[in-house]
Protein backbone atom coordinates (compact mmCIF):
# COMPACT_ATOMS: atom_id res chain seq x y z
CA UNK A 1 0.00 0.00 0.00
CA UNK A 2 2.84 2.34 0.87
CA UNK A 3 4.42 1.39 -2.47
CA UNK A 4 1.22 2.43 -4.22
CA UNK A 5 1.05 5.75 -2.38
CA UNK A 6 4.66 6.40 -3.21
CA UNK A 7 3.90 5.45 -6.83
CA UNK A 8 1.10 8.01 -7.01
CA UNK A 9 3.37 10.74 -5.64
CA UNK A 10 6.10 9.59 -7.99
CA UNK A 11 3.72 9.62 -10.96
CA UNK A 12 2.76 13.21 -10.21
CA UNK A 13 6.39 14.18 -9.78
CA UNK A 14 7.36 12.49 -13.05
CA UNK A 15 4.59 14.23 -14.94
CA UNK A 16 5.37 17.60 -13.45
CA UNK A 17 9.13 17.63 -13.45
CA UNK A 18 10.62 14.92 -15.67
CA UNK A 19 11.07 16.10 -19.24
CA UNK A 20 12.19 12.64 -20.36
CA UNK A 21 8.94 11.06 -19.10
CA UNK A 22 6.90 13.76 -20.82
CA UNK A 23 8.80 12.89 -23.99
CA UNK A 24 8.03 9.20 -23.53
CA UNK A 25 4.34 9.98 -23.03
CA UNK A 26 4.19 12.09 -26.17
CA UNK A 27 6.08 9.42 -28.13
CA UNK A 28 3.72 6.72 -26.86
CA UNK A 29 0.69 8.75 -27.92
CA UNK A 30 2.23 9.62 -31.30
CA UNK A 31 3.21 6.03 -32.16
CA UNK A 32 0.01 4.36 -30.95
CA UNK A 33 -2.11 7.21 -32.33
CA UNK A 34 -0.49 6.97 -35.77
CA UNK A 35 -0.86 3.18 -35.81
CA UNK A 36 -4.54 3.44 -34.80
CA UNK A 37 -5.21 6.12 -37.41
CA UNK A 38 -3.62 4.00 -40.16
CA UNK A 39 -5.56 0.94 -39.00
CA UNK A 40 -8.80 2.94 -39.12
CA UNK A 41 -8.02 4.37 -42.53
CA UNK A 42 -7.55 0.93 -44.07
CA UNK A 43 -9.45 -1.26 -41.61
CA UNK A 44 -12.84 0.48 -41.75
CA UNK A 45 -13.21 0.24 -45.56
CA UNK A 46 -11.85 -3.32 -45.45
CA UNK A 47 -14.30 -4.26 -42.69
CA UNK A 48 -17.13 -2.63 -44.64
CA UNK A 49 -16.16 -4.60 -47.75
CA UNK A 50 -16.02 -7.84 -45.75
CA UNK A 51 -19.43 -7.11 -44.23
CA UNK A 52 -21.18 -6.10 -47.43
CA UNK A 53 -19.27 -7.96 -50.14
CA UNK A 54 -20.05 -11.44 -51.41
CA UNK A 55 -16.91 -12.84 -53.00
CA UNK A 56 -14.94 -16.05 -53.11
CA UNK A 57 -12.66 -16.47 -50.10
CA UNK A 58 -14.65 -14.08 -47.91
CA UNK A 59 -15.19 -16.63 -45.15
CA UNK A 60 -11.51 -17.58 -45.17
CA UNK A 61 -10.59 -13.90 -44.95
CA UNK A 62 -12.99 -13.41 -42.04
CA UNK A 63 -11.41 -16.41 -40.32
CA UNK A 64 -7.96 -14.90 -40.78
CA UNK A 65 -9.14 -11.55 -39.41
CA UNK A 66 -10.70 -13.24 -36.39
CA UNK A 67 -7.46 -15.15 -35.81
CA UNK A 68 -5.50 -11.91 -36.17
CA UNK A 69 -7.60 -10.33 -33.43
CA UNK A 70 -5.98 -12.69 -30.96
CA UNK A 71 -2.47 -12.61 -32.44
CA UNK A 72 0.25 -12.26 -29.73
CA UNK A 73 1.96 -8.84 -30.22
CA UNK A 74 5.39 -10.37 -29.73
CA UNK A 75 4.79 -12.69 -32.72
CA UNK A 76 3.74 -9.70 -34.84
CA UNK A 77 6.88 -7.93 -33.62
CA UNK A 78 9.01 -10.90 -34.60
CA UNK A 79 7.53 -11.02 -38.11
CA UNK A 80 8.05 -7.27 -38.58
CA UNK A 81 11.60 -7.63 -37.22
CA UNK A 82 12.32 -10.35 -39.82
CA UNK A 83 10.98 -8.18 -42.62
CA UNK A 84 12.81 -5.03 -41.51
CA UNK A 85 16.08 -6.63 -40.41
CA UNK A 86 19.17 -6.07 -42.53
CA UNK A 87 18.63 -9.29 -44.53
CA UNK A 88 14.84 -8.84 -44.72
CA UNK A 89 12.70 -7.73 -47.65
CA UNK A 90 12.57 -4.13 -46.41
CA UNK A 91 16.01 -4.19 -44.78
CA UNK A 92 17.43 -1.53 -47.13
CA UNK A 93 14.90 0.97 -45.75
CA UNK A 94 16.75 0.94 -42.38
CA UNK A 95 13.52 1.17 -40.41
CA UNK A 96 14.37 -1.30 -37.65
CA UNK A 97 14.66 0.27 -34.18
CA UNK A 98 12.86 3.42 -35.31
CA UNK A 99 9.45 4.78 -34.25
CA UNK A 100 8.26 4.01 -37.80
CA UNK A 101 8.96 0.31 -37.25
CA UNK A 102 6.91 0.49 -34.07
CA UNK A 103 4.03 2.15 -35.93
CA UNK A 104 4.14 -0.64 -38.54
CA UNK A 105 4.06 -3.37 -35.88
CA UNK A 106 1.30 -1.71 -33.89
CA UNK A 107 -0.66 -1.05 -37.08
CA UNK A 108 -0.54 -4.78 -37.85
CA UNK A 109 -1.78 -5.59 -34.34
CA UNK A 110 -4.59 -3.02 -34.55
CA UNK A 111 -5.70 -3.79 -38.10
CA UNK A 112 -7.51 -7.12 -37.47
CA UNK A 113 -9.27 -5.59 -34.45
CA UNK A 114 -10.55 -2.66 -36.50
CA UNK A 115 -11.57 -4.91 -39.42
CA UNK A 116 -13.26 -7.46 -37.15
CA UNK A 117 -15.23 -4.91 -35.12
CA UNK A 118 -16.19 -2.95 -38.27
CA UNK A 119 -17.40 -6.09 -40.04
CA UNK A 120 -19.54 -7.09 -37.07
CA UNK A 121 -21.02 -3.62 -36.59
CA UNK A 122 -21.80 -3.09 -40.28
CA UNK A 123 -23.37 -6.54 -40.47
CA UNK A 124 -25.57 -5.64 -37.51
CA UNK A 125 -27.11 -2.71 -39.43
CA UNK A 126 -30.53 -3.20 -41.06
CA UNK A 127 -29.80 -5.01 -44.35
CA UNK A 128 -31.97 -2.62 -46.35
CA UNK A 129 -29.98 0.52 -45.46
CA UNK A 130 -27.41 0.41 -48.29
CA UNK A 131 -30.14 0.09 -50.94
CA UNK A 132 -32.18 2.78 -49.24
CA UNK A 133 -29.23 5.19 -49.29
CA UNK A 134 -28.51 4.36 -52.91
CA UNK A 135 -32.11 4.99 -53.88
CA UNK A 136 -32.06 8.31 -52.02
CA UNK A 137 -29.15 9.38 -54.19
CA UNK A 138 -26.09 8.65 -52.04
CA UNK A 139 -22.88 7.99 -53.95
CA UNK A 140 -20.38 5.32 -52.91
CA UNK A 141 -18.44 7.50 -50.46
CA UNK A 142 -21.61 9.03 -49.04
CA UNK A 143 -22.98 5.53 -48.41
CA UNK A 144 -19.75 4.50 -46.69
CA UNK A 145 -19.85 7.62 -44.50
CA UNK A 146 -23.55 7.33 -43.63
CA UNK A 147 -23.32 3.62 -42.87
CA UNK A 148 -20.22 4.18 -40.71
CA UNK A 149 -22.12 6.91 -38.89
CA UNK A 150 -24.94 4.44 -38.30
CA UNK A 151 -22.45 1.86 -37.07
CA UNK A 152 -20.50 4.36 -34.97
CA UNK A 153 -21.08 2.49 -31.70
CA UNK A 154 -19.24 -0.50 -33.11
CA UNK A 155 -16.64 1.53 -34.98
CA UNK A 156 -15.63 3.54 -31.95
CA UNK A 157 -15.51 0.31 -29.96
CA UNK A 158 -13.10 -0.87 -32.68
CA UNK A 159 -10.94 2.23 -32.23
CA UNK A 160 -10.96 1.84 -28.44
CA UNK A 161 -10.09 -1.85 -28.63
CA UNK A 162 -7.31 -1.20 -31.14
CA UNK A 163 -5.81 1.76 -29.28
CA UNK A 164 -6.11 -0.03 -25.95
CA UNK A 165 -4.39 -3.12 -27.35
CA UNK A 166 -1.42 -1.30 -28.87
CA UNK A 167 -0.75 1.36 -26.26
CA UNK A 168 -0.47 -1.39 -23.65
CA UNK A 169 1.57 -3.93 -25.64
CA UNK A 170 5.23 -4.36 -24.97
CA UNK A 171 6.40 -7.35 -27.01
CA UNK A 172 6.29 -5.80 -30.47
CA UNK A 173 7.43 -2.37 -29.25
CA UNK A 174 10.47 -3.94 -27.62
CA UNK A 175 11.28 -6.27 -30.55
CA UNK A 176 11.15 -3.74 -33.38
CA UNK A 177 11.78 -0.53 -31.40
CA UNK A 178 14.62 -1.77 -29.26
CA UNK A 179 13.64 0.51 -26.31
CA UNK A 180 16.26 3.11 -27.26
CA UNK A 181 16.35 5.97 -24.80
CA UNK A 182 15.14 9.23 -26.36
CA UNK A 183 14.17 7.50 -29.58
CA UNK A 184 11.95 4.43 -29.31
CA UNK A 185 11.31 4.15 -25.59
CA UNK A 186 7.57 4.20 -24.89
CA UNK A 187 5.68 3.82 -21.63
CA UNK A 188 5.45 0.01 -21.71
CA UNK A 189 9.11 -0.53 -22.56
CA UNK A 190 10.07 2.10 -19.97
CA UNK A 191 8.12 0.12 -17.35
CA UNK A 192 10.03 -3.04 -18.32
CA UNK A 193 13.32 -1.13 -18.02
CA UNK A 194 12.72 0.38 -14.59
CA UNK A 195 11.23 -2.89 -13.29
CA UNK A 196 14.43 -4.60 -14.43
CA UNK A 197 16.41 -2.09 -12.43
CA UNK A 198 14.27 -2.87 -9.36
CA UNK A 199 12.72 0.62 -9.24
CA UNK A 200 9.25 -0.70 -8.44
CA UNK A 201 7.62 2.60 -7.29
CA UNK A 202 8.78 4.28 -10.50
CA UNK A 203 7.51 1.32 -12.55
CA UNK A 204 4.17 1.60 -10.77
CA UNK A 205 4.14 5.35 -11.42
CA UNK A 206 4.67 4.79 -15.15
CA UNK A 207 1.94 2.13 -15.04
CA UNK A 208 -0.45 4.64 -13.47
CA UNK A 209 0.42 7.21 -16.14
CA UNK A 210 -0.22 4.61 -18.85
CA UNK A 211 -3.57 3.71 -17.35
CA UNK A 212 -4.57 7.36 -17.01
CA UNK A 213 -3.58 7.96 -20.62
CA UNK A 214 -5.67 5.02 -21.84
CA UNK A 215 -8.54 6.16 -19.62
CA UNK A 216 -8.42 9.72 -20.96
CA UNK A 217 -8.40 8.61 -24.61
CA UNK A 218 -11.18 6.09 -24.03
CA UNK A 219 -13.27 8.62 -22.14
CA UNK A 220 -13.11 11.01 -25.08
CA UNK A 221 -14.01 8.22 -27.52
CA UNK A 222 -16.83 7.03 -25.27
CA UNK A 223 -18.26 10.54 -25.13
CA UNK A 224 -18.26 10.66 -28.93
CA UNK A 225 -19.69 7.15 -29.12
CA UNK A 226 -22.56 7.79 -26.73
CA UNK A 227 -23.44 11.22 -28.10
CA UNK A 228 -27.07 11.30 -29.30
Amino acid sequence: MSDFGEALRSAWHLLAADAEIRGIILRTLAISGAATACAMLLGIPAGYALARGRFRGRTLLLGLVNTGMGMPPVVVGLIVWLVLARGGVFGPLHLLYTPQAMVIAQFLIAMPLVIGFTTASVQALPGALPDLLRSLGAGRLQRLWLLCREARLGLLAAVMAAFGAIISEVGAAMTVGGNLRGSTRVLTTAIVTVTGRGEIPQALALGIILLLLALAVNLVLTLVQQRR
Binding site: D131, L133, S135, L146
Partner: protein, 313 residues
Protein backbone atom coordinates in the same frame (compact mmCIF):
# COMPACT_ATOMS: atom_id res chain seq x y z
CA UNK B 1 -41.79 10.48 -67.41
CA UNK B 2 -42.01 7.37 -69.57
CA UNK B 3 -40.51 4.11 -68.33
CA UNK B 4 -39.22 1.73 -70.98
CA UNK B 5 -37.53 -1.65 -70.90
CA UNK B 6 -36.15 -3.47 -73.92
CA UNK B 7 -34.62 -6.95 -74.31
CA UNK B 8 -34.16 -7.16 -70.56
CA UNK B 9 -32.53 -10.26 -69.13
CA UNK B 10 -31.65 -10.66 -65.47
CA UNK B 11 -30.19 -13.71 -63.76
CA UNK B 12 -29.48 -14.51 -60.14
CA UNK B 13 -27.18 -17.39 -59.23
CA UNK B 14 -27.46 -18.67 -62.81
CA UNK B 15 -31.27 -18.68 -62.72
CA UNK B 16 -33.21 -16.54 -65.17
CA UNK B 17 -35.28 -14.17 -63.06
CA UNK B 18 -36.48 -11.69 -65.68
CA UNK B 19 -36.97 -12.00 -69.42
CA UNK B 20 -38.84 -9.00 -70.82
CA UNK B 21 -38.46 -8.30 -74.57
CA UNK B 22 -40.34 -5.00 -74.43
CA UNK B 23 -42.35 -3.13 -71.84
CA UNK B 24 -43.25 0.50 -71.35
CA UNK B 25 -45.28 2.57 -68.96
CA UNK B 26 -46.58 5.87 -70.31
CA UNK B 27 -45.87 9.08 -68.41
CA UNK B 28 -48.42 9.85 -65.74
CA UNK B 29 -49.83 6.32 -65.44
CA UNK B 30 -50.19 4.31 -62.22
CA UNK B 31 -49.56 0.63 -62.88
CA UNK B 32 -49.70 -2.36 -60.57
CA UNK B 33 -47.05 -5.01 -61.16
CA UNK B 34 -49.20 -7.92 -60.12
CA UNK B 35 -48.32 -11.58 -59.84
CA UNK B 36 -47.52 -14.40 -57.47
CA UNK B 37 -44.45 -14.45 -55.20
CA UNK B 38 -41.26 -15.12 -57.15
CA UNK B 39 -42.64 -13.64 -60.39
CA UNK B 40 -39.82 -11.06 -60.57
CA UNK B 41 -41.90 -7.99 -59.69
CA UNK B 42 -39.57 -6.64 -57.02
CA UNK B 43 -36.53 -7.44 -59.15
CA UNK B 44 -38.00 -5.40 -62.01
CA UNK B 45 -38.67 -2.54 -59.58
CA UNK B 46 -35.09 -2.70 -58.29
CA UNK B 47 -33.72 -2.71 -61.84
CA UNK B 48 -35.77 0.36 -62.71
CA UNK B 49 -34.51 2.07 -59.55
CA UNK B 50 -30.91 1.37 -60.50
CA UNK B 51 -30.36 -1.06 -57.62
CA UNK B 52 -29.65 -4.07 -59.85
CA UNK B 53 -27.66 -4.48 -63.02
CA UNK B 54 -29.26 -6.46 -65.86
CA UNK B 55 -27.43 -9.23 -67.66
CA UNK B 56 -28.38 -7.47 -70.88
CA UNK B 57 -30.93 -5.07 -72.25
CA UNK B 58 -31.90 -1.47 -71.79
CA UNK B 59 -33.74 0.18 -68.93
CA UNK B 60 -34.76 3.80 -69.33
CA UNK B 61 -36.62 6.26 -67.13
CA UNK B 62 -37.18 9.24 -69.41
CA UNK B 63 -33.66 9.98 -70.63
CA UNK B 64 -32.03 8.43 -67.56
CA UNK B 65 -30.23 5.24 -68.59
CA UNK B 66 -27.40 4.55 -66.14
CA UNK B 67 -28.17 3.07 -62.72
CA UNK B 68 -27.10 6.29 -60.98
CA UNK B 69 -29.25 8.47 -63.28
CA UNK B 70 -32.23 6.17 -62.76
CA UNK B 71 -31.80 6.32 -58.99
CA UNK B 72 -31.85 10.11 -59.11
CA UNK B 73 -35.12 10.41 -61.06
CA UNK B 74 -37.02 7.82 -59.03
CA UNK B 75 -38.28 7.51 -55.48
CA UNK B 76 -38.62 4.08 -53.94
CA UNK B 77 -40.79 3.04 -51.01
CA UNK B 78 -39.30 -0.32 -50.09
CA UNK B 79 -41.36 -3.24 -48.82
CA UNK B 80 -39.52 -3.21 -45.49
CA UNK B 81 -39.30 0.42 -44.37
CA UNK B 82 -35.76 1.10 -43.15
CA UNK B 83 -34.65 4.22 -41.34
CA UNK B 84 -31.43 5.73 -40.16
CA UNK B 85 -30.95 6.77 -36.56
CA UNK B 86 -32.60 10.08 -35.83
CA UNK B 87 -36.03 11.58 -36.12
CA UNK B 88 -38.58 11.11 -38.86
CA UNK B 89 -37.85 14.67 -39.96
CA UNK B 90 -34.12 13.92 -40.29
CA UNK B 91 -34.92 10.79 -42.29
CA UNK B 92 -37.20 12.72 -44.64
CA UNK B 93 -34.62 15.48 -45.06
CA UNK B 94 -31.72 13.13 -45.80
CA UNK B 95 -32.91 12.30 -49.33
CA UNK B 96 -33.33 15.99 -50.11
CA UNK B 97 -29.78 16.69 -48.91
CA UNK B 98 -28.36 13.81 -50.92
CA UNK B 99 -30.16 15.00 -54.04
CA UNK B 100 -28.88 18.53 -53.48
CA UNK B 101 -32.32 20.08 -53.13
CA UNK B 102 -31.85 23.71 -52.01
CA UNK B 103 -31.75 23.81 -48.19
CA UNK B 104 -34.46 26.49 -47.99
CA UNK B 105 -36.89 24.05 -49.67
CA UNK B 106 -36.32 21.22 -47.19
CA UNK B 107 -38.71 22.32 -44.46
CA UNK B 108 -41.60 22.99 -46.83
CA UNK B 109 -41.10 19.72 -48.74
CA UNK B 110 -40.98 17.68 -45.55
CA UNK B 111 -44.00 19.48 -44.11
CA UNK B 112 -46.05 18.99 -47.29
CA UNK B 113 -45.23 15.29 -47.57
CA UNK B 114 -45.94 14.83 -43.86
CA UNK B 115 -49.31 16.53 -43.95
CA UNK B 116 -50.34 14.64 -47.12
CA UNK B 117 -49.57 11.31 -45.47
CA UNK B 118 -50.87 12.26 -42.02
CA UNK B 119 -47.56 11.99 -40.17
CA UNK B 120 -47.09 15.60 -39.06
CA UNK B 121 -47.27 14.57 -35.40
CA UNK B 122 -44.55 11.95 -35.97
CA UNK B 123 -41.92 14.29 -37.42
CA UNK B 124 -39.95 14.68 -34.19
CA UNK B 125 -40.26 11.05 -33.09
CA UNK B 126 -37.32 8.64 -33.46
CA UNK B 127 -37.83 6.95 -36.82
CA UNK B 128 -36.83 3.55 -35.50
CA UNK B 129 -39.52 3.59 -32.81
CA UNK B 130 -42.53 3.72 -35.14
CA UNK B 131 -45.32 1.15 -35.36
CA UNK B 132 -45.65 -0.83 -38.61
CA UNK B 133 -48.49 1.39 -39.84
CA UNK B 134 -46.64 4.60 -38.97
CA UNK B 135 -43.48 3.30 -40.63
CA UNK B 136 -45.46 2.62 -43.84
CA UNK B 137 -46.74 6.18 -43.89
CA UNK B 138 -43.30 7.64 -43.19
CA UNK B 139 -41.85 5.41 -45.91
CA UNK B 140 -44.39 6.83 -48.33
CA UNK B 141 -43.82 10.40 -47.13
CA UNK B 142 -40.06 10.05 -47.65
CA UNK B 143 -40.65 8.98 -51.26
CA UNK B 144 -43.19 11.77 -51.86
CA UNK B 145 -40.88 14.43 -50.39
CA UNK B 146 -38.33 13.68 -53.12
CA UNK B 147 -40.88 14.85 -55.73
CA UNK B 148 -39.33 12.44 -58.23
CA UNK B 149 -41.03 11.95 -61.61
CA UNK B 150 -41.07 8.17 -61.08
CA UNK B 151 -42.49 6.54 -57.94
CA UNK B 152 -41.79 2.89 -57.22
CA UNK B 153 -43.76 1.33 -54.37
CA UNK B 154 -42.98 -2.23 -53.29
CA UNK B 155 -45.89 -3.91 -51.51
CA UNK B 156 -46.92 -0.64 -49.83
CA UNK B 157 -49.57 -2.34 -47.69
CA UNK B 158 -47.60 -5.38 -46.53
CA UNK B 159 -47.80 -6.07 -42.82
CA UNK B 160 -50.22 -3.30 -41.85
CA UNK B 161 -53.37 -3.77 -39.78
CA UNK B 162 -56.82 -3.57 -41.33
CA UNK B 163 -57.68 0.05 -40.46
CA UNK B 164 -54.33 1.29 -41.82
CA UNK B 165 -54.71 -0.83 -44.92
CA UNK B 166 -58.21 0.52 -45.53
CA UNK B 167 -56.97 4.09 -45.11
CA UNK B 168 -53.91 3.59 -47.34
CA UNK B 169 -56.02 1.94 -50.05
CA UNK B 170 -57.84 5.25 -50.34
CA UNK B 171 -54.89 7.56 -49.76
CA UNK B 172 -52.23 6.08 -52.04
CA UNK B 173 -54.22 6.47 -55.30
CA UNK B 174 -55.18 10.01 -54.27
CA UNK B 175 -51.56 10.93 -53.49
CA UNK B 176 -50.24 9.44 -56.73
CA UNK B 177 -52.88 10.96 -58.96
CA UNK B 178 -52.50 14.40 -57.42
CA UNK B 179 -48.98 14.78 -58.81
CA UNK B 180 -47.32 14.33 -62.22
CA UNK B 181 -45.69 10.97 -61.58
CA UNK B 182 -45.39 7.68 -63.35
CA UNK B 183 -45.94 5.11 -60.63
CA UNK B 184 -45.38 1.39 -60.38
CA UNK B 185 -46.78 -0.53 -57.44
CA UNK B 186 -45.64 -4.07 -56.76
CA UNK B 187 -48.32 -6.24 -55.21
CA UNK B 188 -49.34 -9.87 -55.09
CA UNK B 189 -52.80 -8.94 -53.84
CA UNK B 190 -55.51 -8.71 -56.48
CA UNK B 191 -57.68 -6.28 -54.58
CA UNK B 192 -54.71 -3.97 -53.93
CA UNK B 193 -53.73 -4.04 -57.60
CA UNK B 194 -57.17 -2.95 -58.76
CA UNK B 195 -57.74 -0.46 -55.94
CA UNK B 196 -54.37 1.26 -56.23
CA UNK B 197 -53.69 1.37 -59.98
CA UNK B 198 -55.33 2.26 -63.29
CA UNK B 199 -53.30 -0.25 -65.21
CA UNK B 200 -52.17 -3.78 -64.47
CA UNK B 201 -49.07 -5.65 -65.66
CA UNK B 202 -49.42 -9.32 -64.78
CA UNK B 203 -46.07 -11.02 -64.17
CA UNK B 204 -45.38 -14.74 -63.94
CA UNK B 205 -41.96 -16.44 -63.94
CA UNK B 206 -40.07 -13.28 -64.86
CA UNK B 207 -42.30 -12.39 -67.81
CA UNK B 208 -45.04 -9.85 -68.29
CA UNK B 209 -47.89 -11.93 -69.66
CA UNK B 210 -50.65 -9.31 -69.75
CA UNK B 211 -50.50 -5.54 -69.61
CA UNK B 212 -53.25 -3.04 -70.09
CA UNK B 213 -55.87 -0.94 -68.37
CA UNK B 214 -57.25 -2.55 -65.23
CA UNK B 215 -60.67 -2.82 -66.87
CA UNK B 216 -59.33 -4.45 -70.05
CA UNK B 217 -57.15 -6.91 -68.17
CA UNK B 218 -60.02 -7.97 -65.94
CA UNK B 219 -62.63 -8.23 -68.68
CA UNK B 220 -60.35 -10.05 -71.10
CA UNK B 221 -57.66 -11.93 -69.16
CA UNK B 222 -56.67 -13.76 -72.35
CA UNK B 223 -55.17 -16.86 -70.80
CA UNK B 224 -56.31 -19.26 -68.11
CA UNK B 225 -53.19 -18.42 -66.11
CA UNK B 226 -54.01 -14.70 -65.95
CA UNK B 227 -57.68 -15.42 -65.32
CA UNK B 228 -56.76 -17.73 -62.45
CA UNK B 229 -54.56 -15.04 -60.89
CA UNK B 230 -57.40 -12.54 -61.22
CA UNK B 231 -59.71 -14.81 -59.24
CA UNK B 232 -61.63 -16.45 -62.07
CA UNK B 233 -62.63 -20.11 -61.88
CA UNK B 234 -61.40 -22.02 -64.92
CA UNK B 235 -63.88 -24.58 -66.28
CA UNK B 236 -64.36 -26.76 -69.35
CA UNK B 237 -67.79 -25.98 -70.81
CA UNK B 238 -68.90 -27.78 -73.97
CA UNK B 239 -65.29 -28.50 -74.93
CA UNK B 240 -64.23 -24.88 -74.51
CA UNK B 241 -62.05 -23.43 -71.76
CA UNK B 242 -63.84 -20.62 -69.98
CA UNK B 243 -63.05 -18.40 -67.03
CA UNK B 244 -65.91 -17.64 -64.67
CA UNK B 245 -65.55 -14.48 -62.57
CA UNK B 246 -66.41 -14.50 -58.86
CA UNK B 247 -70.21 -14.49 -58.60
CA UNK B 248 -70.55 -15.88 -62.13
CA UNK B 249 -71.97 -19.22 -60.94
CA UNK B 250 -75.45 -19.67 -59.55
CA UNK B 251 -77.02 -22.70 -57.93
CA UNK B 252 -79.78 -24.17 -60.01
CA UNK B 253 -80.48 -23.48 -63.64
CA UNK B 254 -79.68 -20.01 -64.89
CA UNK B 255 -79.40 -18.26 -68.22
CA UNK B 256 -76.16 -19.97 -69.27
CA UNK B 257 -74.85 -23.53 -69.46
CA UNK B 258 -75.62 -25.83 -66.53
CA UNK B 259 -72.95 -28.02 -64.93
CA UNK B 260 -72.99 -30.73 -62.25
CA UNK B 261 -71.50 -29.48 -58.95
CA UNK B 262 -70.35 -31.86 -56.19
CA UNK B 263 -70.77 -30.00 -52.90
CA UNK B 264 -68.31 -30.98 -50.20
CA UNK B 265 -68.97 -28.24 -47.67
CA UNK B 266 -71.06 -25.16 -46.98
CA UNK B 267 -69.32 -22.35 -45.10
CA UNK B 268 -70.59 -19.16 -43.52
CA UNK B 269 -68.60 -16.13 -44.77
CA UNK B 270 -69.83 -13.17 -42.71
CA UNK B 271 -73.35 -12.32 -43.87
CA UNK B 272 -73.67 -15.01 -46.56
CA UNK B 273 -72.71 -18.63 -47.28
CA UNK B 274 -70.42 -20.26 -49.82
CA UNK B 275 -70.82 -23.75 -51.18
CA UNK B 276 -67.41 -25.40 -51.59
CA UNK B 277 -67.02 -28.29 -54.01
CA UNK B 278 -65.89 -29.44 -57.45
CA UNK B 279 -67.00 -29.25 -61.04
CA UNK B 280 -65.14 -32.13 -62.66
CA UNK B 281 -61.60 -31.71 -61.33
CA UNK B 282 -61.83 -27.96 -60.73
CA UNK B 283 -62.23 -26.71 -57.17
CA UNK B 284 -65.13 -24.30 -57.19
CA UNK B 285 -66.65 -21.97 -54.60
CA UNK B 286 -70.14 -20.74 -55.23
CA UNK B 287 -71.73 -17.85 -53.37
CA UNK B 288 -75.24 -18.65 -52.17
CA UNK B 289 -77.90 -16.00 -52.50
CA UNK B 290 -80.25 -15.21 -49.60
CA UNK B 291 -83.08 -17.17 -51.19
CA UNK B 292 -80.96 -20.05 -52.53
CA UNK B 293 -81.61 -23.41 -50.90
CA UNK B 294 -78.56 -24.57 -48.88
CA UNK B 295 -77.27 -27.76 -50.52
CA UNK B 296 -76.34 -30.79 -48.39
CA UNK B 297 -72.57 -31.54 -48.33
CA UNK B 298 -71.92 -34.75 -50.29
CA UNK B 299 -74.71 -34.14 -52.79
CA UNK B 300 -74.53 -33.27 -56.49
CA UNK B 301 -76.47 -30.19 -57.55
CA UNK B 302 -76.71 -28.11 -60.71
CA UNK B 303 -74.97 -24.75 -61.16
CA UNK B 304 -75.61 -22.32 -63.95
CA UNK B 305 -72.75 -20.39 -65.54
CA UNK B 306 -74.17 -16.87 -65.71
CA UNK B 307 -71.03 -15.02 -66.82
CA UNK B 308 -67.82 -16.25 -68.38
CA UNK B 309 -65.07 -15.35 -70.83
CA UNK B 310 -63.25 -17.69 -73.16
CA UNK B 311 -59.56 -18.16 -72.39
CA UNK B 312 -56.56 -19.88 -73.96
CA UNK B 313 -54.18 -22.33 -72.39
Amino acid sequence: MEIAVRDLLFERSGRRVLDIPELSFAAGTVTALFGPNGAGKTTLLRLLAGLETPLSGEVRLGQARSARERALVSAVAFQEPAFLRGTVRQNLTLGLTLRRVAAEEHAARVQDAASETGITDLLDRPARALSAGEARRVNLARALALAAPVMLLDEPLAGVDRPTRRALLQEIPRLLRSRPVTALIVTHDREEAFRLADRIAVMVDGRVIRHGSADDVYRAPGTALVADLLGYTILEVAGRRVAVPPGGLRLGEGTGPVLPYDVTQVVLVGDHRHAVGRIGTAAVECRLGETDPVPEPGTRVQVGVERSVEVDG
